[in-house]
């Protein structure tokens, strides 16, 4: 057993919370649960959710994590926080007191972020635990139902998991109902008011096609199938809803990884420096802190990048350099005010776009690499010519930027109920094997031919999956 007691934790927790208040953070009530390494592995495998529905992929994830851990290839996280109200966090029982204190401070950073960042507003934190539990119960009930059974449930879940991230990303943008969408289409079809119409040629009126399904390209693939495939059973529809709801819950965490980890690291650093740790704890803290936030050579450590940007942002408002003063004038806010504002209003892509400066990129020596033959070769570095491109590349690859955008164009293509999808190609080609298998899953759920239009090696290509299997056809 470690050399600390729950009373020690409560003692340091009180000190930390005083600092949390002093910083102006706004947290959900917090609960900590102590666990051993096996529990931690299990929580990691199930994304922290204490009661999650069963699926073999979590078993796989567990085995993988355990193997990595047992061979010493990766350590365990010091903590795990769940976006819920009250926020639930797990602490590893075998960690030292310093690590526990560090972790507690770090957890309050995440907690504050979950509660305030706009992307998390739609996750309904007060229902998190209950929702996941209800999902698990429903899935189990279907598995135990003799007319359904575990195999059929697994087959639907496999397919749904493959497509779960193919959904709208920005949860702050309202999804229009079909009625609203129809009205918007009619409105857009109206000719704009033109004061000089007597001398202009009138634009041709293009009649909007109100019979088309979907009216406009639809990114929510699972939900669309749920609502438009008449041959699905109710339990199948329910499984699709469950998987989609879970993806919606996790998308904010994908979208704010760098901000969130950077923010929590910034918060724990401020707090740990303010609570007057005894010297031996403080020295250990410095070591641990640097282990967490050190850069990963050749890669991107979200803790490091996030912390750098947050720190720099605060400095620019508290102690601007002469150049910055000349360019932006005297800041109207204190650094802390600015930080609290940004942690509410941004996500990774906007955060980096707005606050990752050329100087910072040069300091961190960010570079862009490209595959060339068998090697990955640096193509651009953050010098005055290259930094914008490197930044663009970084922004493009983080968060949901790593997931291809694919939308349903037509659910009755060629009047054969063929599902026609288009990939929003941005010079990044799809990986073909994955594409083939995922289309297979889509075919399983849709029950009719599915066609994906994409670009492969510069050529428009149709990937088709139907009862004869997969085929790819290049268009001229």
């Amino acid at each position: 057993m470690a050399s600390w007691s729950l009373d020690d934790l409560a003692y340091w927790d009180a000190k930390i919370r005083a600092q949390v208040d002093a910083l102006g953070l706004d947290c959900y009530p917090q609960e900590f649960e102590l666990c051993n390494h096996n529990d931690m592995l299990a929580y990691m495998a199930y994304s922290g959710i204490p009661s999650h529905y069963p699926h073999w992929s979590y078993g796989k994830s567990f085995e993988k994590l355990r193997t990595l851990y047992e061979y010493g290839l990766s350590g365990l996280p010091y903590e795990m926080v769940i976006n819920s109200n009250p926020a639930l966090a797990y602490l590893m029982r075998d960690n030292s007191l310093c690590l526990q204190v560090l972790t507690i401070a770090h957890v309050y950073g995440h907690n504050d972020f979950f509660k305030n960042n706009f992307t998390f507003k739609s996750t309904r934190a007060e229902f998190t635990i209950g929702t996941f539990k209800a999902h698990a119960e429903r899935v189990r009930a279907y598995m135990e139902d003799p007319s359904i059974g575990a195999d059929k449930v697994e087959s639907i879940l496999d397919a749904a998991h493959a497509l779960s991230l193919q959904r709208r990303r920005n949860l702050a943008v309202k999804k229009l109902s079909p009625e609203e969408e129809r009205r918007a289409m009619l409105r857009n079809a109206q000719a704009v008011h033109d004061p000089f119409k007597s001398i202009h040629r009138r634009p041709d009126y293009i009649e909007p096609d109100l019979q088309k399904v979907p009216l406009s390209p639809e990114p929510d693939i699972l939900l669309f199938i749920r609502d438009h495939n008449p041959y699905l059973a109710n339990w199948e529809r329910d499984l699709l809803s469950i998987v989609d709801e879970e993806a919606r819950y996790f998308i904010p965490q994908i979208e704010t990884k760098i901000m969130n980890e950077g923010w929590a690291s910034w918060v724990h650093r401020e707090i740990m420096n303010a609570i007057e740790l005894p010297q031996e704890l403080h020295l250990e803290f410095l070591v641990r802190h640097n282990q967490v936030v050190r850069p990963t050579p050749g890669g991107i450590n979200p803790y490091h990048l996030g912390l750098k940007v947050w720190t720099d942002l605060k400095r620019r408002f508290d102690e601007p350099t002469a150049d910055e003063l000349r360019e932006h004038g005297t800041p109207a806010k204190t650094g802390m005010q600015k930080l609290l504002e940004v942690r509410e209003t941004d996500r990774d892509q906007s955060f980096l776009r707005r606050f990752l400066t050329e100087e910072l990129m040069r300091e961190m020596d960010l570079f862009e690499y490209e595959p060339k033959g068998d090697d990955l070769v640096i193509s651009k570095v953050a010098d005055e010519h290259g930094w914008r491109a490197v930044k663009e590349q970084l922004i493009r690859s983080i968060g949901m930027g790593g997931i291809p955008v694919i939308r349903i164009e037509d659910a009755d293509f060629g009047h054969k109920r063929t599902l026609y999808l288009t990939h929003d190609h941005d010079d990044r080609d799809l990986q073909l094997e994955n594409g083939e298998k995922t289309l297979g899953y889509l075919y399983r759920l849709w029950g009719r031919e599915v066609v994906l239009e994409t670009v492969l090696a510069g050529k428009r290509t149709l990937l088709t999956f139907n009862d004869r299997g997969f085929s790819a056809k290049t268009l001229k």
Binding site: E31, F32, K60, G298, D365, P371, V377, P404, L430
Partner: protein, 426 residues
């Protein structure tokens, strides 16, 4: 703000609830299925041939992948350097299945799961043969070997050993007796009080029946309503050991070890026999195996020699067949034994021997249940070397089967083809 809550660690709970167990089990099942599907590739790997059965081997299998739409490998990425990065520097190797540069990249692309799973050869062989049945060997009446088989339940007895006590039935028979006794007492109460008293006495003696032998029997009389077990209530499961009649089979492996059988050909032949041998060991308990290797002369050899020793010389296929016929005549008379013979050769027989070989093959086919000939012709060599396949075409016995093995991937399909032939006959 509400107080923070710290929940202490409860080890009992942690040990009791292993909620990932079910999912892990399912995942392992899926891996097993995957091994089974790719078994042909796995056994084509050289490493398993000729190894002992309990050896652990590493089998590379594609993990059970979870597919999504993802970007391909040829997309650029962003990394962080140590301050000395210059365009043109190499930061990693491409094509490592989506891994970026650096050892612990934050993973914005999913990697390909490639497992090496440890399985013992025995497991692997079990998986291989799971859906493959060797023929019901044709039964021959005499001298059948009997092999003890798993015990089987055969009804119930009132005597038996403690461990086979059937609690459910015991309790049931006690309840039956209880109801019977009560009905009887009620009937007796109505008619004859003396009978009732006698029944009560009987019951009391039954109560002591079980407790009496024990030294620690309770001294106090049991409560009035208690209705204890009686020896007659006890029911034991009866178990018998079944003897299964095994068929009497001998498998004769004949391999060409002449000089024209180069390393590759020998390897293919051995792989084939290795499979056959393992298969027979898995499926049959009492099967005898004879190994014959031949060049211009044939000799019976041991297992080890058969799989590991090389020889050279010319080829007289008939010599191998003749040796097999001799051994059959001597030890395994076809009226008593099911005989299976398999021969692997490159078909490069000495011309003058062909007639003799065909004749011997005829004889073998007559007395064997199944006679197989596998011709090993690695790709490319097939066109300029003579082939026995043409000659054996004249042999139209139902139980004769030829296959052509051109590369190691053919071994498994041809192996199945051999066995399928036998199944068709059934």
């Amino acid at each position: 703000m509400v107080d923070t809550i710290f929940r202490p660690f409860r080890s009992s709970e942690a040990e009791r609830s292993d909620r990932s167990a079910g999912d892990r089990l399912r995942h392992r099942q899926k891996i097993r299925e995957s091994i089974r599907e790719n078994i042909a590739d796995i056994i084509a790997e050289e490493s398993i041939i000729g190894k002992s059965r309990d050896r652990v081997i590493k089998v590379p299998i594609r993990g059970i992948r979870e597919y999504r739409f993802v970007y391909g490998d040829n997309i650029p990425g962003v990394g962080q350097g140590d301050g000395t990065s210059q365009p043109g520097q190499v930061v990693g190797a491409n094509g490592q299945d989506g891994e970026g540069p650096g050892a612990e990249k934050a993973g914005d692309r999913p990697g390909v799961d490639y497992y090496e799973t440890d399985v013992t050869l025995e497991d692997l062989i079990d998986i291989m043969f799971e859906d493959l049945d060797l023929p019901d060997l044709e039964r021959k009446a005499l001298r059948q070997l009997e092999a003890p088989r798993a015990s089987k339940r055969r009804g119930y007895r009132q005597v038996g050993i403690r461990i086979r006590l059937d609690k459910h039935r015991t309790v049931k028979s006690r309840i039956k007796r209880k109801f019977a006794a009560e009905r009887r007492r009620r009937a007796a109460d109505d008619t004859n009080p003396i009978d009732a008293a006698r029944d009560a006495a009987l019951e009391a003696s039954a109560e002591t029946a079980l407790t009496a032998p024990g030294a620690d029997a309770p001294a106090a009389p049991p409560p009035a309503r208690r209705f204890p077990f009686h020896v007659d209530d006890l029911v034991y499961r009866h178990v018998t050991t079944q003897m299964r009649r095994e068929s009497n089979a001998v498998v004769i492996c004949i391999m060409d070890t002449s000089g024209s059988m180069d390393t590759m050909k020998k390897y293919l032949a051995r792989s084939f026999f290795f499979l056959l041998y393992q298969f027979i060991c898995t499926k049959y308990r009492s099967v005898e195996i004879v190994f014959i290797s031949h060049h211009t002369e044939a000799s019976e050899v041991g297992e080890d020699e058969f799989f590991h020793k090389g020889e050279s010389g010319g080829t007289f296929i008939s010599s191998g067949y003749q040796k097999a016929l001799d051994i059959i005549a001597e030890r395994y008379h076809p009226s008593l034994w099911n005989v299976y013979a398999f021969h692997c050769s490159d078909g490069d027989n000495f011309d003058s021997d062909n007639t003799a070989a065909l004749k011997a093959a005829h004889e073998l086919a007559d007395i064997c249940n199944l006679f197989g000939y596998g011709e090993i012709k690695p790709l490319g060599s097939r066109y300029y070397e003579s082939s026995m396949l043409n000659i054996f075409r004249r042999l139209d016995a139902d139980n004769f089967q030829t296959v052509l093995i051109e590369r190691k991937e053919d071994i498994w399909p041809s192996f199945r083809a051999f066995l399928a032939k036998d199944k068709e006959q059934d």
